[in-house]
C-alpha cells in the first residue's frame, strides 16, 4: 500500500467514525419525549456562593496580594487619594465608580485598605463575565464578581446583592453599566442608588483616572502608564432614588475634577457650578475625541512621545 492510500484510509477511518453505541456512547433521545428545558448555569444563574467561602476568600486574598496588586503596580502605577475618608467610614457600603477599562475593578480593589479589600463583591455584567464556565469561575474568584443583568432589571440579581449587603459585604458597582466607548463618562443607571435606598447603606464615589489610556475598550493588551484612584466622601441615601442617581454622578464629576487639579480648586468650581461634566463636551464626535488628546491606540505616537522625553529612558 502506498503512503497516499494509507493516509487516505486513516483519514477515512476518522472522518467516517460513528458515535459509540449506547451505553458506551450517549443514548438517543426518544422522539416522543420533549427535551427538558435546559438548566441555565451561566449568566445571572451562575452560583457564586462558593467564591465567598472562607478557603476561597483566603486564596483570593493571596491572589490579590501576590498577583493583582503587583500587576496593577507595574502596569498602572496607581496613586490613591482620599484614603483618610475610610477612617470615619462604617461598612458595609456601596462603592460607585466610573468605568472606562477592565483595569478599573482590579485597580480599585488593590487600592482599597486591607480591612475593606477582602469584603468587596464586584457586580459584573452577566452577559460578559459569566458567559463561559471558565471565565465565570475566574472572575468569581479573582474579583469576587456577582453576575447582574445590565440590560434589564433582574429581581434575583438585585435581591442577591441586597442580601450580600445585609450580610456585611461591600459592593463595587459601576453605575454606567459598562465601559466607556469613547473615554468620556456615560449616563448613570439607577442600580447603585436603588440598592443604597433599599439597604440604607451609604454610597462611596470612587473616581479612576487614566485607565482608559492604558486599556481602552477594544484593546487586547494594556499599555503601561500612571493612574489615580480617588475615594470620595460617603453619600447617605436620604433622598429619593432618582435624585440620588444625579447626586452620585455629580460627586464623581467633582472627584474627577479633584483628580485633575486639587481638592480646593475642585471645591471652588463645584460651589460655582462649574465642575467639568464627566460626559465630556456637548459637541460633535470628533471634538469630543479631540478633547481627550491623542488616542491611546496610536502606538506609533506613544513610542514617539516616549522617545521625545528627556532624559531618554525615563
Amino acid at each position: 500500500m502506498s503512503t497516499d492510500s494509507a493516509m487516505r484510509t486513516v483519514s477515512q477511518l476518522f472522518s467516517s467514525r460513528r458515535p459509540l453505541p449506547f451505553p458506551l456512547g450517549r443514548p438517543t433521545w426518544p422522539s416522543t419525549v420533549p427535551y427538558p428545558p435546559k438548566r441555565e448555569k451561566l449568566g445571572t444563574h451562575y452560583d457564586t456562593a462558593w467564591a465567598r467561602r472562607y478557603p476561597v476568600r483566603a486564596a483570593r486574598a493571596a491572589y490579590t496580594e501576590l498577583v493583582t496588586r503587583p500587576v496593577m503596580a507595574a502596569v498602572a502605577r496607581p496613586r490613591t487619594e482620599g484614603l483618610e475618608r475610610f477612617d470615619r467610614l462604617q461598612g458595609p457600603v456601596i462603592f460607585a465608580a466610573n468605568h472606562a477599562s477592565h483595569l478599573d475593578a482590579p485597580l480599585i480593589l488593590s487600592a482599597l485598605p486591607d480591612r475593606w479589600q477582602h469584603r468587596v463583591v464586584t457586580l459584573a455584567a452577566a452577559d460578559y463575565f459569566f458567559n463561559s464556565r471558565l471565565r465565570a469561575a475566574y472572575f468569581a474568584f479573582a474579583i469576587n464578581a456577582l453576575p447582574i443583568e445590565r440590560t434589564k432589571v433582574s429581581r434575583s440579581s438585585t435581591e442577591q446583592a441586597s442580601a450580600l449587603l445585609e450580610d456585611g459585604w461591600n459592593l463595587l458597582i459601576f453605575p454606567e453599566g459598562g465601559r466607556s466607548p469613547d473615554g468620556w463618562g456615560q449616563q448613570h443607571r439607577g442600580g447603585a442608588a436603588w440598592l443604597a435606598a433599599r439597604s440604607g447603606r451609604p454610597v462611596v464615589p470612587v473616581h479612576v483616572q487614566g485607565t482608559w489610556r492604558l486599556l481602552p475598550r477594544g484593546s487586547k493588551r494594556p499599555y503601561f502608564g500612571t493612574t489615580k484612584v480617588t475615594f470620595g466622601a460617603p453619600i447617605a441615601p436620604t433622598e429619593p432614588v432618582r435624585s440620588l442617581v444625579g447626586t452620585i454622578e455629580d460627586a464623581l464629576a467633582a472627584l474627577a475634577d479633584e483628580a485633575a487639579s486639587d481638592w480646593w480648586s475642585a471645591r471652588l468650581r463645584a460651589a460655582r457650578g462649574e465642575t467639568p461634566p464627566l460626559r465630556g463636551p456637548e459637541a460633535s464626535g470628533w471634538r469630543r475625541a479631540w478633547a481627550l488628546g491623542p488616542s491611546p491606540k496610536d502606538r506609533a505616537r506613544r513610542r514617539a512621545e516616549r522617545s521625545e522625553r528627556w532624559p531618554r529612558g525615563s
Partner: protein, 522 residues
C-alpha cells in the same frame, strides 16, 4: 409511559442479580416507567407525633388510650417490607419509638412488641435490630418482651370467633389479651395494610387459609385494588371481627420511590436520561458482576439498602387510616396506561418479599412475576386475556435449605405431578401445612411455614387464568419447564414464541419495575 420508536434507546430489563439492555420492537411497544420519587416529609418524627395525636376516623389520640396498668401490644410488619430493605432509621423504628415515648409518659409498664410474621420465617437478631433500632431491641428483647408471632403455637393462639362467612379468627394470644394493639405498618404497595395486617400477620394457619386460597386469589382483580380483591374482602371480615374484641390503633406509613443508592442511580432513571456517570456505573457494574460468583453476586445485591424516605404517616381507626394511606400511595405510584397489549414483559429483580437475605428460587420467581408484578394494576391487567407474559430472570434451580425447606419438596414432588392450582390445593396443601417437620422448622428455625410455597403458587392463579402462556427469558430451562412455562434464550426469541400465541406483530408493554408503580389501565 413511553411509546417506543426507532429513536428509543435500548431499555434496561431487570434480570435477577443483573440487567439486560434490550431493544423493543418500534412502533408497537411501550414502556411504563415509575413516577419520580415524591419529596419526603421534612420532619418525619414530628409528623408521626402529629399523626398519633390527631388520629383519623372514630378514634381518640393515642395518649388518651394509654393508662397505667394496661396491657399494650405493639405489632409491626416483618422483614418482607420494605423492598429493598431501607436504610436506618426504618419507619418502624421511628413510629415505635414515638409510641413508646407516649406509653412511658402514661406509665404503661406491660408493653410487648410482636413481629407480625404470619406464616413467614422468623427474623434474626440483626434483622430485628435493623427494623426496630438498637434502643428498642435492647430494651425489650433481653426481657422476653420482643416476640415473633408463632402461627403454630397451640398455647399462643386464641380463637376469638367466626365471621358470618364461617371464617375462623384465631389470633395471637398476647394480642387477644391486650387492652390495646398498636399496629405499625410500612405500606410499600397497595396490597399491604388495613385489616390485612392483623388478619395475616397475627393469625394462625387456620385463619389465614380463608383468604389465602385458590378461590380468593382467582377473584382478586387485582390484589392491589382492595375493593375488587376477594382476598381483602375476607381479610376485612376477619379484621372487623377482631376489632370487636380488641381495640386496634393502626399506624401506616408510605415511602417514596427512591429505591436505589446513588451508585446505582441509573436504575432510577429512564435510559435516555443516563449521563456519563450513569453509563459508566452501568458498564462498570455489569462487567464487574460477570467476574463474581453467583453466591457473591447474590450477597452483593442483598446488601443494597434503599434510601427510601417517608412520604406520609397516618394513625387511628384502621379503615380511615388505610383509605388515607392508599391515597398517598397512589400519589406516588399510580401511572395511567391506555388499553391492554398482546404481550407484557416483566424484568424481575433480585429481591421479592420472601427472599430477603435469601435465594430467589423458581417458585418465588413465579410469585414475583405472575403474583406481584402482574397484579400491579387497577382496572384491567396490562396484557389482554389470552395474551403472553414474558418474565426475565435466571430462575435458578436453587433453594435456600434453611428458609425454604418445604419449597424444595413442593417443587420436586408437587409440580412434578401437576401445575394446576386447584388440584394442588385439593391434593397436597393440608399434608404440607400439617407436616410436623415443617412445623418444627417454622417454629424453631428460620423456615417459612410448610404451606407457604402453595401460597406462592396460588398468588399467580389470576395471571395463569388470564394469560395464554408464560415465557421466561434466560431462565434455567429445567426449572422453567417444571413450572409449565416456556424457556427462551433471548427476548427476541421470547417475542417470536409469543407471536405463535397472539399473532404476527403483537403489541408489547414493558413494565419497568422497580421502582414500584401501579398501572391504572383504562
Amino acid at each position: 409511559m413511553l411509546e417506543v420508536d426507532r429513536s428509543t434507546p435500548p431499555a434496561l430489563i431487570w434480570h435477577g442479580e443483573g440487567w439486560r439492555l434490550e431493544r423493543l420492537p418500534p412502533e408497537r411497544s411501550r414502556i411504563v416507567y415509575a413516577p419520580e420519587p415524591l419529596p419526603p416529609l421534612a420532619d418525619p418524627d414530628a409528623a408521626i407525633r402529629e399523626a398519633l395525636l390527631s388520629p383519623l376516623g372514630d378514634c381518640p389520640p393515642l395518649p388518651a388510650l394509654l393508662r397505667p396498668g394496661m396491657r399494650l401490644t405493639i405489632a409491626f410488619d416483618d422483614l418482607s417490607l420494605p423492598l429493598p430493605p431501607m436504610k436506618r432509621p426504618d419507619n418502624r423504628q421511628r413510629v415505635i419509638e414515638a409510641v413508646l415515648d407516649m406509653a412511658a409518659a402514661a406509665g404503661v409498664d406491660d408493653v410487648t412488641l410482636v413481629a407480625a410474621l404470619g406464616l413467614h420465617r422468623r427474623m434474626t437478631e440483626a434483622e430485628l435490630r435493623h427494623a426496630l433500632g438498637d434502643r428498642v431491641y435492647d430494651a425489650f428483647a433481653p426481657q422476653g418482651r420482643l416476640l415473633q408471632h408463632d402461627a403454630e403455637d397451640p398455647d399462643g393462639l386464641v380463637l376469638v370467633g367466626r365471621t358470618d362467612h364461617g371464617e375462623e379468627v384465631e389470633v395471637n394470644r398476647r394480642v387477644a389479651e391486650s387492652d390495646l394493639l398498636v399496629y405499625v405498618n410500612i405500606n410499600l404497595v397497595a396490597m399491604d395494610g388495613g385489616h390485612k395486617s392483623t388478619s395475616t400477620g397475627l393469625m394462625s394457619y387456620r385463619s389465614v387459609r380463608h383468604h389465602h386460597n385458590v378461590r380468593t386469589l382467582a377473584h382478586s382483580r387485582s390484589l392491589m385494588d382492595q375493593p375488587r380483591s376477594e382476598l381483602h374482602s375476607s381479610a376485612w371480615r376477619i379484621g372487623r371481627l377482631l376489632g370487636e374484641h380488641i381495640k386496634v390503633f393502626q399506624v401506616e406509613t408510605t415511602l417514596n420511590n427512591d429505591a436505589f443508592p446513588p451508585q446505582l442511580a441509573f436504575l432510577q432513571k429512564r435510559e435516555w436520561e443516563w449521563g456519563l456517570r450513569d453509563r459508566a456505573s452501568f458498564v462498570a457494574a455489569s462487567q464487574g458482576l460477570q467476574l463474581l460468583t453467583e453466591r457473591s453476586r447474590r450477597s452483593l445485591f442483598q446488601s443494597i439498602l434503599a434510601p427510601h424516605q417517608m412520604t406520609s404517616v397516618q394513625a387511628g381507626e384502621v379503615e380511615a387510616v388505610h383509605a388515607s394511606t392508599i391515597a398517598n400511595l397512589h400519589r406516588q405510584q399510580l401511572v395511567d396506561v391506555e388499553g391492554q397489549t398482546d404481550v407484557v414483559i416483566f424484568g424481575l429483580p433480585h429481591v421479592g418479599p420472601y427472599n430477603v437475605g435469601s435465594i430467589m428460587n423458581p417458585l418465588l420467581v413465579m410469585c414475583l412475576g405472575l403474583g406481584y408484578f402482574f397484579n400491579m394494576y387497577i382496572g384491567k391487567p396490562l396484557v389482554r386475556p389470552g395474551g403472553v407474559v414474558i418474565l426475565s430472570h435466571p430462575t435458578p434451580w436453587a433453594f435456600h435449605p434453611v428458609h425454604h425447606p418445604s419449597y424444595i419438596d413442593f417443587f420436586e414432588e408437587v409440580l412434578a405431578a401437576t401445575t394446576d392450582p386447584a388440584e394442588i390445593e385439593k391434593t397436597y396443601e393440608e399434608r404440607f401445612a400439617t407436616d410436623p417437620w415443617y412445623r418444627h422448622l417454622y417454629r424453631t428455625s428460620y423456615a417459612y411455614h410448610g404451606v407457604h410455597p402453595f401460597y406462592m403458587w396460588y398468588w399467580g392463579v389470576h395471571a395463569l387464568e388470564h394469560a395464554a402462556s408464560t415465557v421466561v427469558v434466560g431462565g434455567d430451562r429445567r426449572a422453567v419447564r417444571r413450572m409449565g412455562f416456556k424457556p427462551a434464550s433471548t427476548l427476541a426469541d421470547a417475542l417470536e414464541m409469543a407471536e405463535d400465541q397472539v399473532g404476527r406483530s403483537p403489541t408489547v408493554t414493558y413494565f419497568r419495575c422497580p421502582p414500584l408503580m401501579l398501572a391504572n389501565v383504562h
